[in-house]
Symmetry: C2
Subunit: 332 residues, 2 copies
DNA sequence: CTGTTAGCGCTTTCAC
DNA sequence: GTGAAAGCGCTAACAG
């Protein structure tokens, strides 16, 4: 069994409270004894019990993160970023995977509540509208990342991001630009699509429904969707994808069709999760996971402290130009 | 404040212990009252405090996972798998990122100990030899994934895996096969390299030091290493890479050099983390993260229960044939 | 079957 | 500057 403050107290010939104070660097303890106790604690290999402390002060310095367990690289990146941001603030991250069932997202939170996490962060939530209201009653602050239907959320400005991506393609001279959506985080997909439509509208270009096809955020669906697009009488010369995985699928489809990217087809992804690994390296819209994590944390801790409600925080996205986009070769 | 057993007890007109028993489905309580209390607890929205429970029984049903925070997709996959395996066993996962500094790996563990995790799992450890001994003294079971220098570890049989990968290339008729290593998990890289050498030796082929080049496990290093190999007077016709990221770099390099994979160059990766997204889809050695996680958990929980020391568990790897390997086109 | 009591390891008034 | 005492929410003997 690990040694406790009581043990230290005994050895130091003081009482437990003094040890507690000394270890907390309280000014209300003689500097001499403080030093002595701290040394002693160190020498004895004392490891304070965060859970006992948590019980006593009713805060655990612990953060819950809920994800569906699908291996979305962007989500993985977010988790790591959240942890990296939490650590210096003295917070530990407890993970809870929910699977793809939206119902389970709430039960995953319940698990975290048992651990008495101080707050909960949910990247790319799949939350049903019906559950949204519950979040407020849950007892601890809940902050969503990219879940704009909920008051407390931080997210990328996906509409602007979509516009930016498509404007880039328009600037290159493309006239038939497709969008492959994803249902992974439906709101997000719709926003990106809105940006797509706005960009086209901005140039007075028509929106061809045949050029909008839904995938599910995975490679395979991207491949399938792209195939469908290429089979069109007048196929697109460029495609904007819901995320990098979808774009990877599009790339693969082009490869199999013997098309060269970007010469014959331009593709742009989203997330910058996997984009730089691909051949060719993918032009993509980058969401800064580090900044998102930081904003989410600040909001969560702000809510904890009972601060003013900053409500929704929106971060800009950045278009990363790589090698998957170029001027179109030919119209149809 | 969340409601407690005491609250329930008051409402139910019984004592706290009865509530505790009822909620634990203890047989030592009247089925009638048990039911009643359980309903009551549910209706009151009772969320048991895992930390109080942990304090009392000295087990938290909590698992620590230490990773360096680099975004290795394989590690991310492992974390998710561990969590997925832990959940049904009633365990929660607490994450602790250590950065790339091996020293911090141990301090990350100290953090987890504060949370009184029941056991610690470390995927792809970077642990210095000097720290290894400390792990045993840490007070809770520590099991490493792919860290064979430590008694308690589970891992892929990387030597066999390397052999398998290279034998595949040999079977295709390749005679100049390179290995691009990684320092990410050095032991692992050396084992994979050993497998490479054994396979060559098995066919009576010489080992050309010029064909072995070290990377660092990242895409860029793979690209750089591949370039170096292609610049050889007599370049390899196939390359076996430390991991998929390295292989992605090799792919990229080939692309830039105008080489077609697999026609002009065969490449095989390792991990199956990112392999299926690539163009062309990568032939790779798959480590089953789910099985690794399961084995690690079993070992950890076994140690916790004071069971027999299963010591090192080795799992087989599987070669996944995709589209990045083919017979060589020409010798040099 | 249920209540009483003590205690897990720490913090925090309130006195001295 | 330090000690004594109570309590955080739960479990676990030990009685009855």
């Amino acid at each position: 069994m690990p040694i406790s403050m009581k043990d230290i107290a005994k050895v130091a010939g003081v009482t437990e409270s003094t040890v507690s104070r000394a270890l907390a660097d309280s000014p209300r303890v003689n500097p001499g004894t403080r030093k002595r106790i701290q040394r002693l604690a160190h020498d004895l290999g004392f490891v304070p019990s965060a859970i006992a402390r948590g019980l006593a002060i009713k805060r655990t310095s612990t953060l819950g993160v809920v994800i569906m367990d699908i291996g979305d690289p962007f989500v993985a990146k977010m988790v790591l970023s959240i942890d990296r941001q939490a650590q210096p603030r003295g917070y530990s991250v407890i993970l809870s995977t929910a699977g793809t069932d939206p119902e389970r997202e709430v039960s995953a939170m319940r698990l975290l509540l048992q651990q008495r996490v101080d707050a909960i962060i949910v990247p790319d939530p799949l939350i049903a509208d019906s559950s949204l209201s519950q979040l407020q009653q849950i007892g601890v602050p809940v902050v969503l990342i990219n879940g704009k239907r909920y008051p407390y959320s931080v997210g990328t400005d996906s509409v602007a991001a979509g516009r930016m991506a498509v404007n880039h393609l328009l600037d290159l001279g493309h006239e038939r630009i497709a969008y492959i959506g994803g249902n992974r985080s439906l709101d997000e997909s719709l926003e990106r699509q809105a940006g797509y439509e706005q960009a086209l509208a901005g140039r007075g270009m028509p929106i061809d429904p045949a050029l909008i096809v839904q995938g599910d955020g995975w490679v395979q669906s991207g491949e399938r969707a792209m195939k469908q697009l290429l089979d069109l009488a007048c196929p697109p010369t460029a495609v904007f994808c819901f995320n990098d995985l979808t774009a990877a699928g599009a790339l693969l489809c082009a490869y199999r069709a013997g098309l060269h990217v970007p010469r014959d087809l331009s593709v742009v992804g989203f997330d910058d999760s996997t984009a730089s690994y691909l051949v060719p390296p993918l032009t993509t819209v980058s969401q800064d996971s580090e900044k998102l994590a930081e904003a989410a944390l600040q909001m969560a801790l702000g809510l904890l402290a009972g601060g003013e409600l900053p409500s929704l925080t929106t971060l800009p996205a950045e278009l990363i130009l790589r090698e998957s986009t170029a001027p179109p070769r030919a119209g149809c």
